[in-house]
């Protein structure tokens, strides 16, 4: 039994993150960047996304079709608890076509309490009509560090 106990504890620890439900919020914005940057008011449980910088791109060239188009998001954890954050960004043209879509967020560890971080959201394969963007939606997904 004693031999089995550490295995059971280990299994419980490994399973713990999946048991935590992810909070989520989505908001739609008009596409109105100035020099690529657009301020947002977007917050979930004291984590705020207050700026996004759009970087329309083009194919890398020499036959490579991937693009360097991206957006950079700025995340502030104004809360008291470390968090894992994921952000999805989807840009639409006036007809409702998706002109860019991707996600970014915490790669390793946590966005610590009181810290600011930036994350890149890449748009490698659907980017050719990004200049026609009219609106975009942002979804923030978050999991708190278990206490």
């Amino acid at each position: 039994m004693l031999r089995k106990l550490p295995l059971a504890v280990l299994a419980a620890v490994l399973a713990a993150p999946s048991a935590l439900s992810a909070q989520q919020i989505t908001k739609k914005f008009d596409y109105a960047p100035v020099n690529g940057a657009q301020d947002l008011k977007f917050e979930l449980d004291k984590v705020s996304l207050n700026q996004i910088v759009f970087k329309p791109g083009k194919s890398l060239g020499a036959g490579v079709r991937r693009s360097d188009a991206s957006a950079e998001i700025r995340l502030d954890n104004n809360g008291m608890v470390d968090k894992i954050v994921g952000v999805a960004v989807v840009l639409f043209d006036g007809d409702g076509n998706v002109v860019a879509a991707g996600s970014g967020g915490t790669r390793v560890g946590y966005l610590s309490a009181g810290e600011r971080d930036t994350a890149a959201v890449n748009f490698p394969f659907v980017f050719r009509h990004m200049d026609k963007a009219k609106t975009f939606i942002v979804t923030m997904e978050m999991v708190e560090k278990a206490k």
Partner: protein, 158 residues
């Protein structure tokens, strides 16, 4: 018209003709069977015919947060010209939250006429509510190589 002038005119026309780029977006209800769902999204004879979803997992017990969640799309070029292809997938829950999104497509060169390819679309950072998916959008973006080739010639009348 001299031969030289004719060549110049043809060359100018070829340069002026932009490589056609087109796009379409379609919405589907989420109803995969065994992860697979047939769809039909078509632009300029390039067709997304099937999508398979993988809810993925993370490296539990490690600090790495990226997920292996992904979708694979099957794309057929039934046209007459080689084409660059991009596919975006956006998955929503019933409240309109994005539960997964990303893009995939031609990495290098073209999807040649008559060929089939499978592209992987990764969902590395937003995936934790993927199991609540209700609808999804597929956008197919194409850019043809050079000018659009003419279709097959009509059968001559007797």
């Amino acid at each position: 018209m001299s031969l030289r002038r004719t060549v110049l005119v043809l060359l100018a026309a070829a340069v002026a003709a932009p490589a056609a780029a087109d796009q379409i977006t379609k919405k589907f209800d989420w109803s995969p069977v065994g992860g697979l769902q047939d769809v039909n999204v078509e632009v300029q004879r390039v067709v997304v015919g099937q999508i398979s979803f993988d809810l993925g997992s993370t490296l539990k017990g490690t600090p790495v947060r990226k997920s292996s969640a992904n979708a694979k799309v099957r794309v057929d070029n039934n046209g007459f010209i080689d084409t660059e292809v991009g596919v975006a997938v956006v998955v929503f829950d019933e409240e309109g939250n994005v539960v997964a999104t990303g893009s995939g497509g031609t990495q290098w060169g073209y999807l040649n006429k008559g060929d089939r390819a499978h592209y992987t679309i990764n969902f590395p950072y937003v995936y934790r509510n993927f199991d609540k998916a209700k609808t999804f959008l597929i956008t197919l973006e194409t850019k043809e190589k050079g000018r659009k080739a003419p279709g097959p010639a009509p059968t001559p009348a007797p």
